[in-house]
Each structure stands twice: as structure tokens, then as C-alpha cells.
Symmetry: C3
Subunit: 156 residues, 3 copies
């Protein structure tokens, strides 16, 4: 029985999906570390119990504040969630819908590249339309995969 389900991952389009899905999820997880890094170096916390590790009483209270770098990392993280969740679902169904391998690879590579570039554009930050275009590239390939999925499986 083990064989049956791991045969799934013999399919090259699914292996490519598994690779790129894992990469973009790891990239998204990195945002947690970046946010934590900015919170600690900028001493900018939202929970009193977190600030308490860096000062006592009134000393801790002044660390309960917002910081531009922390907020920027958090917005990048939320934008990842908003875009990577559709990729995870639609990308899996697309990989199962029997796409040409080269076409599938192109979609996955553009998506992963767009999210990595989006994060750099957000954190550096780059002037617009850098971040906007990188967002749009990932959005467009997700729509393209959704179209293929619906064309292949539509069952309302």
C-alpha cells in the first residue's frame, strides 16, 4: 500500500510541484524569522510578556510599540499567505490534471521566482513597480493554472 501512494511522486509534474511548493513554503516560513529578528533588534513588541524579556516594569512598556521594519516584514508575510495559499491548492490540482511537464515547470518556476523577488522588493525596498510586477507575475501564472484545472475537471 505504501507503494501505491508514493507512486504519486513518480509523476514528474507532481515531483516538480512538490519541489516548488516546498521552496515557496520555506521562503514564507523565513518571514517569521525576519519578523522576529526585527522585533528583537528594534525592540518593538506587541505582547507584554515578550517585551518583559528585554526590560522590567516601565522599562518593558516602552518596547510595546510598532516599528516600520517589523510592519514591513509582517506585510510581506501576509502577502505571501494571500498568494501562496492559492498556489498550493491550484498548483496541486494543476499538477494532477496532466499538464505538459515543460509547461508545468515554467509555471512553477515563474511563481517561485516571483515570490522570492517580491520579498526582496518589499524588504529592500525597491521602488515601484518592482514589487507590483513581481506580485502580478505570480498572480498571472496562478490564474493560468486555474484555467487549465477548470478546463480539465469542471464538475459543478
Amino acid at each position: 500500500e505504501m507503494a501505491k501512494s508514493s507512486q504519486l511522486l513518480d509523476n514528474e509534474a507532481l515531483r516538480a510541484y512538490a519541489t516548488y511548493a516546498t521552496i515557496v513554503l520555506l521562503k514564507m516560513m523565513l518571514m517569521s524569522l525576519i519578523t522576529a529578528y526585527f522585533r528583537i533588534t528594534r525592540k518593538a513588541f506587541v505582547n507584554p510578556e515578550d517585551a518583559a524579556s528585554f526590560g522590567k516594569g516601565e522599562g518593558a512598556k516602552k518596547y510595546l510599540r510598532t516599528d516600520q521594519d517589523v510592519e514591513r516584514a509582517r506585510r510581506g508575510h501576509l502577502n505571501d499567505l494571500e498568494n501562496i495559499v492559492p498556489f498550493l491548492g491550484i498548483g496541486l490540482l494543476y499538477a494532477l490534471s496532466g499538464p505538459e511537464l515543460s509547461t508545468a515547470l515554467m509555471h512553477f518556476r515563474i511563481f517561485a521566482g516571483s515570490r522570492i523577488f517580491h520579498t526582496l522588493a518589499y524588504l529592500i525596498p525597491l521602488p515601484q513597480p518592482g514589487r507590483g510586477l513581481s506580485w502580478a507575475a505570480g498572480y498571472a501564472v496562478t490564474i493560468s493554472m486555474a484555467y487549465k484545472v477548470l478546463k480539465t475537471v469542471l464538475y459543478l
Copy 2:
């Protein structure tokens, strides 16, 4: 090998899942465009590099502000994430758990309808309990699918 994994999508419950999952993800992705539309028409940005496209120096600074319509669209988007992520995971496992096709279709249709109605109720906005009830319908069918999954596969 291609055949083996795309056979997955020969299953009608899985095809129905693929269809409705793609629809609700596309609807969620639409929230990004709605937020962008309100940001641009209301001139309400959070990143200085975004505001800079609409004015220079002090002119740009005044566009760094919150706007009720933008915030409303963002709340709708976050509510989508909070509810569509459980549907994606639980719905896939439910579709794999061998449900009656007609029962599965009923669950998926109610969920998709509830999320579309929720967005309309949030953006118009409709008086309560319109939005609350649409949220509850999607929540309830997700719980119902989770129950079927756990009953079928429980392995702790």
C-alpha cells in the same frame, strides 16, 4: 506514470472538489484586486514607495493613510484565508474519504455559496446577521466534512 496520478481526477468527488476549491481560491484572489482598486481610487497606501507613484515629497506623504473601504476589503480577504485554508485541507481529505457524490456536492456548493455571499455582505455591506450567517454556513459544512474524515481515517 502520468496516467496513474491523473486517474485521481477521474473520481467524481475529487473533480467536484477540484472545481469548487479552484472557484473559492479565485474568489479569494479577487480580494487582492479589490483592495488594490480601493487603494488607488481612495489614494490610501501603507508603503511610501507605493504612495510615491501618486505624488512627490509632502504630496506623497498625505496618501499614507488608512481608508475604510480598503480596510473592509482587507478584513474580507483575511476572513477568506481563515476559512478557505481549512476547506482546502479538510475538503481534499473528505473527497478522498469516499463520500457519496451527492453529499459531497452539497457540502462544496454550500461552502462556495457561503464565501461568495460573505464577500458581498462584507463589501456592500449588508446589515447583520447576513454576513454572520453566511460565515456560519461555510463553517458548519467544514466541520461536517472534518467529522466524516476523522470517522473514516482516524489514526492517532
Copy 3:
């Protein structure tokens, strides 16, 4: 055809994944109810149409405010999203990658335990590093599963 896809769930690692994924998603969904409970008991709303259920005119306006307990529940919910989404994707691919059953169970159990403890640590709240360590445990097992997935399927 029904048989073919539900055979997937004959695989014990996949059944374990299905069980723990459903549990953590239900736990995440619970955050919506906890937020709603605090909003209603603290009378702290963000949408005018929600506050209107609890007072009229100026009476309703005073309920448009933030509340520490509501915000705490919302932060716990967002942290769930940020961490459970990677688990859903990476965990599924990991379960398909043919792991040892006992190793897989250990990963899934630590993840589920870490998220349940994280929520308790956030809501009580526990002093740090309680919440931090529970977050790190879930993060670490997700990285470990991602490593196994990439080692098994890498296809760039």
C-alpha cells in the same frame, strides 16, 4: 474509480496525516469562535454593522474599539495561519514521500502538540519562553519534513 483514490487513505502515513491535519485545522477554526466570544463579551467591534446589533446610533459607536483580548486571539489566529499552512502543504508531500510510519507519527504529533500549546500560551498568557518554544517545536518539525520531501523528490 472511487476505489482508486480512496486507496490513498489505506496508506497509514497518509491516514495519520489526514488525522493530524484535520485536528490542527479544527483547532485553528476554534480561534474564530474565541475571537467572536471576546468581541461579544467585551463589546469591541470593527464593523459598524456588527456594533449596531448591540446599540443604536451613538450607543453603537462606542463599541467600535479594539480590545486586548480580541487582539490577542486574532494574533494567535494569524500565527496559526502562518504555521499551519506550511504544515498542510509540506506534511502532505512528506506523507506521500514514503516516510517510516513511526517517524511520520512523531512529526505530526509534535506539530499538533506545539500548536495546541502555542494557543494556550497565547491566551492564558504564559510567560516567555513558553510560547516561543512551542512555536519553535512546530517550526522545526516542519523544516525536518521539508528536508525529507526535497531529498526524495527534488525536481527543479
